[in-house]
C-alpha cells in the first residue's frame, strides 16, 4: 500500500480534490473537464505503480495517457488563446505535431515502449505556448490582477513543469546515475519536485477560479 503513496500520487490526488471542490460548478466546460483529466491522471499514476509492481511494465499505460495529456493541455491553451486574442490555429498545429510525432514513435518502437520523443516535443510546445500566453498578457492593454488569475497560475504551473521535465528528459541518463539515497536517484527527486510544483500551482489556479466565480455570483 505504501508503494502507492508517492510525491506524484499524493500531489495529484490533492489537486483532484481541489478541482472537485472548486471546478465542479464552474461555468466553463473546459475547466470542468479538467476534473476528468485529473481523475485520469491519478488513475493512470496509480495504475502505473500497480503494473510496475506486478508486471514490471507500465510504459504502454503512459503511452495511452500521453494522448489524454496532449488533448487536455492543448484544449486549455486553445481556450486561453481565444480569450486573449491569440492565434487559435496554434493549438490545432500542436495537435498535428503531436499526431505526427506519436505515430512516428509508435511506428519506430511499437506501443509497449514509452513515446519519449513525443513527450519531449510536446513539452517544448507546451513551454512555447505558455510563453506565448504570457506574451499575450503583456501585450494586452487590459490589466489583470495576476495574483488571482486562474489562467495565469495554470500556465505558470505548466511552464515550470514542462520546462523542467524537458531538461530532465534530455539529461535523464546522467541524472539517474546520481544517487541521493541508496535506491533513489536525482532524476526521481527532480520529477517529484516538478510534480508538486505543477499540481500546487494548478490547485491554486482552481482556487482562483472559484474566487472568480464567487465574485460573479449575485
Amino acid at each position: 500500500m505504501l508503494n502507492y503513496l508517492t510525491f506524484n500520487t499524493v500531489s495529484e490526488f490533492f489537486c483532484l480534490t481541489v478541482a472537485l471542490i472548486c471546478l465542479l460548478k464552474d461555468k466553463e466546460l473546459i475547466w470542468r473537464l479538467l476534473i476528468v483529466f485529473l481523475f485520469v491522471t491519478t488513475a493512470c499514476e496509480t495504475g502505473g505503480i500497480f503494473f510496475a509492481t506486478e508486471y514490471h511494465d507500465n510504459q504502454w499505460l503512459y503511452n495511452i495517457f500521453i494522448v489524454f495529456e496532449a488533448a487536455f493541455v492543448l484544449a486549455i491553451f486553445n481556450n486561453l488563446f481565444k480569450k486573449h486574442g491569440g492565434n487559435p490555429l496554434l493549438a490545432a498545429l500542436g495537435g498535428v505535431c503531436f499526431a505526427g510525432s506519436y505515430i512516428s514513435d509508435l511506428m519506430s518502437h511499437g506501443f509497449f515502449k514509452y513515446s519519449n520523443n513525443t513527450f519531449t516535443i510536446m513539452s517544448v510546445l507546451y513551454v512555447t505556448f505558455a510563453l506565448y500566453f504570457f506574451y499575450l498578457l503583456v501585450k494586452s492593454d487590459i490589466y489583470i490582477d495576476l495574483k488571482y488569475s486562474a489562467e495565469f497560475w495554470w500556465a505558470t504551473g505548466t511552464l515550470l513543469f514542462y520546462f523542467g521535465t524537458t531538461a530532465c528528459n534530455i539529461f535523464d541518463k546522467h541524472l539517474e546515475k546520481i544517487l541521493i539515497t541508496p535506491t533513489l536517484n536525482l532524476s526521481y527527486f527532480i520529477f517529484a519536485v516538478l510534480d508538486v510544483v505543477l499540481y500546487g500551482f494548478w490547485s491554486y489556479s482552481f482556487i482562483c477560479k472559484r474566487w472568480e466565480a464567487k465574485k460573479l455570483e449575485p
Binding site: L131, A167, F171
Partner: protein, 261 residues
C-alpha cells in the same frame, strides 16, 4: 572532459533549466504591476484633464457673463437711455423737430437691436467653439476691435483637419482669451497679429503684440500671475508647448503648439 566535469555541467544546465522559468514568471508579475501603475496614472491624468476642461468651460462662461455685463451697462444701457431721453424730449407742437427726434430714436433703437444680437451670439460662445476654433477666435476679435483701441490681423494657415478635437479647441480658445486679457490689461498694445496654423499632426497659435513687452526672466512668480501660468498649464495638459519671447519696449510673442487632433 572527465565524467565528474560532465556531471557538474549537467547539474548546472539542469539547475538553469529549473530556475529560468521562475525568472520569466517573476518578470511577468513585475511587468504587470508596472502596467497597473501606468493604467492608474492614465486614469488620474484623464480625471485631471476632465476637471480642467470643466474649469475652462466655466471660465469661458464667466468671461462671457462679464463681457455681457459690461456691454449691457456701457453700451446697450447707454443707447436705451439715450433713446428714452430722445423720446421724452419730443415736443408734439414742433412736428419737424419731433420727426427728427423720432428718427434718431429709431436709429438708436436699431443700434441697440444690433448690439443685442451680437450679445446673443456671444452667449453661444461654447457652441461657437463647437462650430470651429477659427470662428470662436474671430468672434473674440470682433469684441476686441469694437473697443477701437486695437487693430487685429488674423491669419489662418493650412487646412483644418476633417476630424477636429472640440476639447482641445475649447482649451486653445480659453488660452486665446487669457492672452487677450493680458494684452488688454498690461500691454498698451495697438496692434495684435494672430496666426493660426494647422500642420499635419499639430496646431500652432501665434499671438504677437506691439505693446510694452516684458522681461520673462525678471518676472517674479507673482508677476507671472495666473495668466501666464494658466496658459502654460493648459497647454501642457493637452501635451502642448508654450514659447514666450518678449523684451521690454519691444512687444511680446506667444506661440502655443499642441498635437492635433
Amino acid at each position: 572532459m572527465g565524467s565528474q566535469e560532465i556531471r557538474t555541467l549537467i547539474l548546472v544546465v539542469t539547475a538553469i533549466f529549473l530556475i529560468a522559468p521562475v525568472f520569466i514568471v517573476v518578470y511577468i508579475l513585475v511587468y504587470n504591476q508596472r502596467k497597473k501603475r501606468h493604467i492608474e496614472e492614465k486614469a488620474q491624468m484623464k480625471l485631471i484633464f476632465e476637471a480642467e476642461l470643466i474649469k475652462t468651460q466655466m471660465e469661458i462662461q464667466e468671461q462671457t457673463m462679464q463681457t455681457i455685463g459690461v456691454e449691457l451697462h456701457d453700451n446697450i444701457g447707454q443707447l436705451l437711455s439715450l433713446t428714452s431721453l430722445t423720446l421724452n424730449s419730443i415736443e408734439l407742437e414742433n412736428v419737424d423737430k419731433a420727426q427728427q427726434k423720432i428718427d434718431a430714436a429709431i436709429e438708436l433703437n436699431l443700434k441697440s437691436i444690433k448690439e443685442m444680437r451680437l450679445l446673443g451670439k456671444l452667449l453661444h460662445g461654447e457652441q461657437l467653439v463647437k462650430l470651429g476654433l477659427e470662428e470662436a477666435i474671430r468672434n473674440e476679435i470682433a469684441w476686441i476691435e469694437k473697443s477701437g483701441k486695437f487693430t487685429v490681423i488674423y491669419d489662418i494657415d493650412g487646412e483644418r483637419p476633417a476630424e477636429s478635437n472640440t476639447d482641445k479647441d475649447l482649451i486653445l480658445f480659453r488660452i486665446v482669451q487669457e492672452i487677450f486679457n493680458n494684452i488688454i490689461k498690461h500691454s498698451q498694445a495697438k496692434q495684435i497679429d494672430i496666426r493660426l496654423t494647422y500642420r499635419a499632426d499639430s496646431i500652432s497659435l501665434q499671438v504677437i503684440d506691439d505693446g510694452d513687452g516684458f522681461d520673462i526672466d525678471a518676472l517674479t512668480e507673482e508677476q507671472k500671475g495666473m495668466g501666464l501660468k494658466n496658459i502654460q498649464k493648459r497647454a501642457e495638459i493637452v501635451g502642448g508647448e508654450v514659447f514666450i519671447r518678449s523684451q521690454p519696449g519691444q512687444g511680446a510673442c506667444i506661440e502655443i503648439i499642441i498635437p492635433y487632433p
